[in-house]
């Protein structure tokens, strides 16, 4: 453990409620470089509570980078300056003594701020509800490896399925587009035999739901890929475009 503490100036977004006007509030802190970003926020909250002040509301759950709850925009970057990690995996040693750090919530029309740094990400769930599944009649347990799937295909599908649905793609996109998220969810099934029966219906429904939630359109800046904590590739967006195009041409759905 390092004894040298970092003196930091934090500018944290405080907003009492969804309809209230928010503002950046300054907090001067001293933290150990070994602390995680969320531990630092915990320490601020402890001192705020001691002084009978409202603690800062932020989301976190697993604190090991797999649940996708802890999205914060740190100095303009979702999940902070270190690539391929979530906010909870970010440690203070990546900052320098005297740094000013801006902490903001994800900004998107589809993600309204509920309080402070907490945003409502149910629009992502709404998209999942219309296509983030395969319909399989449950019965006896099937034999393993009954359906042959090439290793590289399985790996690609798994890479897409690594999406934790944190919403950093939306937060980083200049258009607040959810294309990377939707493309990962479409791709993980589109690549596997089990996903084929519902492939057309799934992509049509999920894109429609995405558009209804008020996300912007993708303009291929690829900021999403750069900021994604799981490194979801934009080749998934290309697959989504392909699948959507072919589904619209081939499917018998005219509504």
């Amino acid at each position: 453990m390092s004894d040298v503490k970092l003196k930091l100036k934090l500018k944290i977004w405080r907003q009492p409620g969804s309809d209230a006007v928010g503002k950046l509030v300054d907090y001067d802190v001293e933290v150990s470089p070994d602390d995680s970003f969320l531990e630092m926020l915990d320490q601020i909250n402890e001192s705020l509570e001691k002084n009978n002040q409202e603690p800062i509301v932020f989301e976190s759950d697993c604190r090991e980078g797999i649940c996708g709850a802890c999205g914060l925009v740190i100095n303009g970057q979702p999940h902070g300056p270190v690539p391929r990690i979530t906010t909870c995996q970010l440690h203070m040693r990546h900052f320098k003594n005297g740094d000013t750090i801006y902490v903001e919530p994800f900004r998107a029309k589809a993600f309204p701020v509920l309080k402070d740094l907490l945003v409502d990400r149910t629009p992502l769930d709404k998209i999942l509800q219309v296509g983030g599944f395969v319909s399989i009649n449950t019965g006896g347990v099937p034999d393993a490896n009954e359906i042959p799937i090439a290793k590289d295909v399985a790996a690609q599908s798994f890479d897409a399925a690594a999406c934790i649905g944190c919403g950093a793609c939306v937060a980083s996109c200049k258009n607040a587009s959810a294309m990377l998220f939707v493309s990962a969810k479409v791709s993980q099934y589109a690549l596997l035999p089990q996903g084929q029966p519902e492939r057309q219906r799934r992509v049509e429904a999920m894109v429609k739901a995405m558009d209804e939630q008020g996300f912007g359109s993708c303009t291929n800046t690829y900021a999403c890929e750069a900021e994604c904590p799981k490194g979801i590739s934009i080749s998934n967006i290309a697959r989504l475009n392909r699948d959507f195009f072919s589904a619209k041409l081939k499917s018998k759905n005219v509504s």
């Binding site: 903001e104 200049k174 359109s217 967006i237 290309a238 697959r239």
Partner: protein, 220 residues
């Protein structure tokens, strides 16, 4: 046909419309630049005027012009619509903009470069097409070109617009392929390279005209 309109109105449909019109304009620029190379024939404009005459008397010219104008309009109007919609998708901006850390300047400034190209296009049409085809102020198009490029301010702005056109094309070229879903480990790096070469060629090619007439033509 409602499914078709609905598809084109979806977020991906708008991308596809952008890409199809963009690729069409990319091809148009190749033709436009190739033909204009006749300006460098150094024969007092004979070749260039002959080329202009040939285009002017092309059978079905009207149809080609209407198609070209529609492609331009679709590209521009669709872009404006996307820009407005995409602005609305993030009503509250970030206090810190770190977009330079996750994306290229070319991709982020498509609206700005596109708007400047649109202004350029209007001036460009006024100076050449409107003077030559509509007003018929001079039936020697080469002379119009020489006269127009004599103005260093005009030529300077022309060159600047062409550099920004290069920026616009550099993103647009590879972006169109991504939109069509043609992202491949083997070919995407080549497409990106080709796009960069193409946009440099277009910027340099078109900018070479004002540079030639400003500095090297007619012994001035």
């Amino acid at each position: 046909m409602s499914w078709l309109l609905e598809s084109l109105n979806s977020s991906i449909g708008k991308k596809i419309l952008m890409a199809v019109t963009g690729i069409s304009l990319i091809l148009f620029l190749v033709g436009h630049l190739s033909g204009n190379m006749a300006l460098f024939a150094n024969d007092g404009g004979k070749s260039f005027n002959a080329y202009a005459e040939f285009l002017h008397h092309l059978p079905g010219l009207m149809v080609i012009e209407i198609i070209l104008a529609s492609v331009f309009l679709l590209h521009i109007l669709n872009a404006l619509r996307l820009w407005v919609e995409n602005k609305k998708a993030r009503p509250v901006k970030y206090a810190v903009n770190a977009s330079s850390k996750n994306s290229t300047i070319f991709s982020r400034t498509m609206v700005q470069t596109g708007s400047i190209i649109l202004i350029f296009l209007i001036v460009h049409l006024k100076n050449f097409w409107y003077e030559y085809v509509i007003l018929k102020s001079n039936d020697n198009l080469f002379e119009i070109v020489v006269e127009t490029f004599k103005d260093p301010v005009y030529s300077g702005l022309y060159i600047l617009a062409m550099i920004l056109l290069g920026f616009h094309l550099n993103h647009g070229f590879q972006s169109a392929f991504q939109t069509f879903g043609w992202n491949h480990k083997k070919y995407t790096p080549f497409i990106n390279f080709l796009g960069a070469i193409y946009s440099i060629a277009m910027a340099v090619g078109f900018a070479s005209m004002p540079i030639y007439f400003l500095f090297f033509y007619g012994g001035n």
